[in-house]
């Protein structure tokens, strides 16, 4: 395995890890099918080229909207423009899933609700957790809380 396999073309100093790519490729095929080494390499190169293409387009979409940072929305728009509109739904789902999983780590466990919680509910949960943490802190300190805009109904 060569996880640091670099494809030495002119502009490309970075490539994608061969092991991960091979896994994705093999999962698409019946178990007894073999993939020639040159085919694997070519598929990886194609993927890098795909990133180049979509990056350029995302950059342009971003410019047209007068923004300074390439955001996920720009990438999704780029995919559509380039004819990869079919991917958008799954890509967006993966993105949303990631956002939920990132929130999840704050709570340290799984949502009891499953994946149906909206962003507002997740934000509300976050606020509740912060409030709980504040209450714990205030319970340990000798001085009473001075911030007037704190929620007076804190539970200790």
């Amino acid at each position: 395995m060569e996880p640091m396999d670099i494809v030495g073309k002119s502009k490309e100093d970075a490539s994608l890890p061969k092991a991960t790519m091979t896994k994705i490729i093999k999962e698409m095929l019946p178990p007894d099918v073999r993939v020639a080494r040159d085919a694997q390499d070519l598929l990886i190169e194609c993927c890098v080229e795909f990133i180049n293409l979509v990056s350029s387009e995302s950059n342009e979409v971003c410019s047209k909207e007068d923004k300074r940072t390439i955001a996920p929305e720009h990438v999704l728009k780029a995919l559509e423009v380039l004819g990869f509109g079919e991917y958008i739904e799954e890509v967006y789902a993966a993105y949303e899933q990631h956002k939920i999983e990132t929130m999840d780590s704050l709570k340290g466990g799984k949502w009891s609700n499953g994946a149906e919680m909206t962003e507002e509910e997740a934000a509300a949960e976050q606020q509740r957790m912060f409030a709980e943490a504040r209450a714990r802190m205030n319970g340990g300190a000798t001085a009473p809380p001075k911030q007037p805009d704190l929620n007076p109904s804190l539970e200790s």
């Binding site: 502009k11 490309e12 100093d13 970075a14 490539s15 994608l16 890890p17 991960t20 790519m21 896994k23 994705i24 490729i25 999962e27 698409m28 095929l29 007894d32 099918v33 073999r34 993939v35 020639a36 040159d38 085919a39 070519l42 598929l43 190169e45 194609c46 993927c47 890098v48 080229e49 795909f50 990133i51 180049n52 293409l53 979509v54 990056s55 350029s56 995302s58 950059n59 971003c62 410019s63 923004k67 300074r68 940072t69 390439i70 955001a71 996920p72 720009h74 990438v75 999704l76 995919l79 380039l82 004819g83 990869f84 991917y87 799954e90 890509v91 993966a94 993105y95 899933q97 990631h98």
Partner: protein, 108 residues
């Protein structure tokens, strides 16, 4: 397609690196953009693999070769941007340098 939806398979830092090199004046990239790319790349590779495999099957073979990937690229409109890449690989001078919409003449 396997329903595997685990942690993002492709390394985000590597993706970001490629993105930065993709042009001369690439803007700043949000932390979330590579996540979107990771999934998009996965789908892209899956599609290209599947189409290449279909060519392999047509040839009644069980090993997927570089030429199958090239054929799949040529036969698919949205993969036009890869034509030069695959033609360089097979060093076929007959393939046109400029991308064109209809490539039926090159069906192998």
């Amino acid at each position: 397609m396997s329903g595997r939806m685990g942690p993002h398979s492709l390394p985000l830092a590597r993706i970001k690196k490629i993105m930065k090199k993709s042009g001369d004046d690439v803007k700043m990239i949000s932390g979330e953009a590579p996540i979107v790319f990771s999934k998009a790349c996965e789908l892209f590779i899956q599609e290209l693999t599947k189409r290449s495999w279909m060519v392999t099957m047509q040839g009644k073979r069980r090993t997927l070769h570089k030429e199958d990937v090239a054929s799949a690229v040529i036969a698919t409109d949205i993969f036009d941007f890869l034509v030069n890449l695959v033609s360089d690989e097979s060093s076929n001078d007959n393939l046109a340098e400029t991308p064109s919409e209809e490539m039926e003449t090159f069906r192998s």
